[in-house]
């Protein structure tokens, strides 16, 4: 199973493509593909969405979570840095 992800143009935040072509921060809401041709067709459409996102690409899924060889990277993109006691959200916006 696969889904399409990208970074939002205005702020770079991680987004996923829904079946209606709208981009969402929620992987759960993303359209899923088990057909290569359908995935490629949706990716081609996403690549034309240059006013909304940057660099769309396909990721592998394992159930509702990122899977495959890039699962660590994609899990970090989905859930944020794993730096635990770092200074994330240290008082800024």
């Amino acid at each position: 199973m696969r889904a399409i992800t990208a970074n939002r143009l205005t702020d770079g935040h991680v987004v996923y493509r829904r079946s209606d072509g709208v981009w969402t921060p929620s992987l759960i809401e993303a359209e899923r593909f088990d057909d290569v041709a359908a995935a490629d067709a949706a990716l081609n459409a996403a690549l034309r969405d240059i006013l909304t996102v940057v660099g769309p690409y396909l990721i592998e899924l394992d159930g509702d979570e990122p899977g495959g060889r890039k699962h660590v990277r994609e899990t970090i993109r989905l859930k944020g840095p794993t730096t635990g006691t770092s200074l994330l959200n240290a008082g800024g916006r």
């Binding site: 970074n7 205005t10 200074l87």
Partner: protein, 543 residues
């Protein structure tokens, strides 16, 4: 410190407006991402895993309190309340929105800062000794020469599209705190036979995929010939380097391919062609730049001391001798136990600015070890500085100890990384401190990179970790024997890759082995040379 003149101000403000227009063009669709990407990179804007990242230049790691407060304001207003100080003495913001970046750059420009040439195949921010102008062993303050290089290299039309990025480091001391041996060009101020100062010139060093120690091109270069000689090196490199393979495009590969003697001969021939013309540095210009960096005045007061818990240890570990009586160099560790190396909150940046202004002539430095420095602290005020740092959570007494770990942002932030580095550093720092292994390890270096680009400088660590991707899992190669300063050396891989947990245990085992086996006064490289790799291999892989 250097102050912008009208040329600097105009150039930087025009660049901000130009970038504002480029961002608007991207948002409107007038520019595609392929067209926009090289433009944003030229202004220090990367797109990382979760957000854009802005890398602002801190020229040769020197800034004043007013500039630090603006860095704090940007962290608070446009980011998540913190910034990350880097191994190139710069600052990175991990979460700015693209739409806000022109405004951020305008605020940086207001305090004479920018993000120009913090990315791309150009001459990057020149780095130097964070103790410059304060170090006891200094031959000459390198900062005026760094400023000269900054002015010469900024938007230099001939060197804006080099085969690859290009990094220059300068040291003015015998103890090399700028790691000149692993830079594309490394410059060392030395005293000549007749007592005048000049540059020892090295080139062809670097880390990354193919780590190399620089070769010495010249033992002595008159200072006023610096720009002619740098131009000669750059010109030979620019003309001859391999541009069709990014892995072979750095000057280190060219020096190796040509051979050091042939490369040096080419540079010297080019130098003979161009020397003595308009690249000669006029004495009055050198004097003008030097005047921006006056030696701090002596202070006729005794050093302060208090009985507060932790003060004596902090004084012993984090305070270094200053060449001017009554002054001291204060290193502010950004490596609390289990903290993210190099990160500082906006409030901490403000606190450092306040302390530097109140007790240290307002000057601050960033180190390649990702710490901050108050270089000209008044020694009588050390207790007040300690108390101020303690209140800000910045009084960790581990500058230069094993837990003063250097890391790149790694896979938690970086688009290029293959593995995480910050969480490994966090676990490692906690393990070293909690197990009592951190004590008495002054000078022992541990550095972690999340990919082969080696931004965490693992190649030149006594104990280095390199994160790699092995079939989708994070694996760490352990290297031993790297040296960053005098006698620079590249570490060698000890054995098979390790899981993150194993890597933490392996490094602590190596630290314990060193503490057990070292002789009095011996540094890690000395112990390793004497006992060899086998005992360390046994400690790590023996079970």
């Amino acid at each position: 410190m250097y102050r912008y003149d009208e040329i600097d101000r105009t150039m930087v403000s025009e660049r901000v407006e130009e970038f504002r227009e480029q961002v608007e063009a991207r948002l409107s669709g007038a520019l595609s991402e392929d067209q926009f990407k090289p433009l944003r990179l030229m202004n220090g804007v990367y797109l990382q895993l979760h957000a854009y990242m802005l890398r602002a230049a801190i020229p040769y790691g020197t800034l004043n309190a007013r500039q630090m407060r603006v860095l704090a304001h940007i962290a608070r207003q446009y980011d998540k309340g913190y910034g990350h100080f880097t191994t190139r003495q710069n600052i990175q913001y991990n979460w700015p929105a693209l739409v806000d970046i022109p405004e951020i750059l305008e605020q940086l420009a207001d305090v004479e800062m920018h993000a120009i040439q913090t990315s791309g195949n150009c001459i990057r921010n020149t780095t130097t000794d964070p103790f410059a102008g304060a170090a006891l062993d200094e031959v000459e303050d390198p900062r005026p020469w760094c400023e000269l290089i900054r002015q010469w290299s900024t938007l230099h039309p001939e060197f804006t599209f080099l085969p690859r990025k290009f990094k220059i480091a300068v040291t003015g001391s015998e103890a090399d705190r700028a790691a000149i041996g692993v830079h594309d060009i490394g410059l060392k101020l030395v005293r000549g036979e007749t007592g005048e100062t000049g540059f020892e010139v090295h080139a062809g060093g670097g880390q990354g995929r193919t780590p190399r120690v620089a070769v010495k091109l010249r033992g002595f270069l008159p200072k006023n010939e610096l720009l002619a000689y740098l131009t000669a090196i750059m010109r030979v490199y620019n003309l001859a380097a391999q541009r069709d393979n990014i892995y072979k495009a750095r000057i280190k590969i060219l020096v190796e391919t040509m051979g050091p003697d042939a490369f040096t001969a080419e540079v010297e021939a080019m130098y003979r062609q161009i020397r003595g013309r308009d690249l000669a540095v006029p004495a009055e210009e050198a004097a003008r730049l030097t005047a921006f960096f006056p030696e701090p005045s002596p202070v006729d007061r005794p050093e302060g001391a208090i009985n507060a818990p932790g003060f004596a240890r902090w004084r012993r570990i984090n305070v270094k001798p200053h060449k001017v009586p009554g002054r001291a160099i204060v290193v502010i560790s950004l490596k609390p136990r289990a903290g993210a190396p190099g990160d500082a909150t906006a409030d901490q940046m403000d606190a450092v600015a306040d302390l530097a202004e109140r007790y240290g002539d307002g000057e601050i430095r960033v180190t390649k070890e990702q710490n901050l420095v108050i270089p000209h602290a008044v020694a009588a005020h050390l207790p007040a500085i300690f108390e101020g740092l303690e209140a800000a959570g910045l009084a960790t007494a581990n500058a230069g100890l094993a837990s003063d770990i250097v890391t790149c942002p790694g896979l938690d932030y970086c688009n290029l990384a293959n593995a995480r580095s910050i969480p490994v550093a966090q676990a490692l720092s906690a393990a070293l401190i909690d197990r009592g292994l951190d004590e008495d390890t002054q000078g022992l270096t541990i550095k972690i990179s999340g990919c082969i680009n080696a931004c965490g400088h693992h190649h030149i660590a006594n104990i280095g970790l390199l994160g790699v991707d092995k079939k989708g899992e994070e694996v760490y190669q352990l290297t031993l024997g790297g040296v960053a300063d005098n006698g620079a050396a590249i570490g060698k891989i000890l054995g098979p890759g390790l899981t993150p947990d194993e890597a933490v245990e392996a490094v602590t085992a190596c630290v314990a082995m060193f503490r057990r086996e070292r002789r009095s006064g011996e540094v890690f490289a000395g112990t390793l040379h004497r006992i060899g790799f086998e005992p360390f291999k046994e400690a790590v892989y023996g079970q």
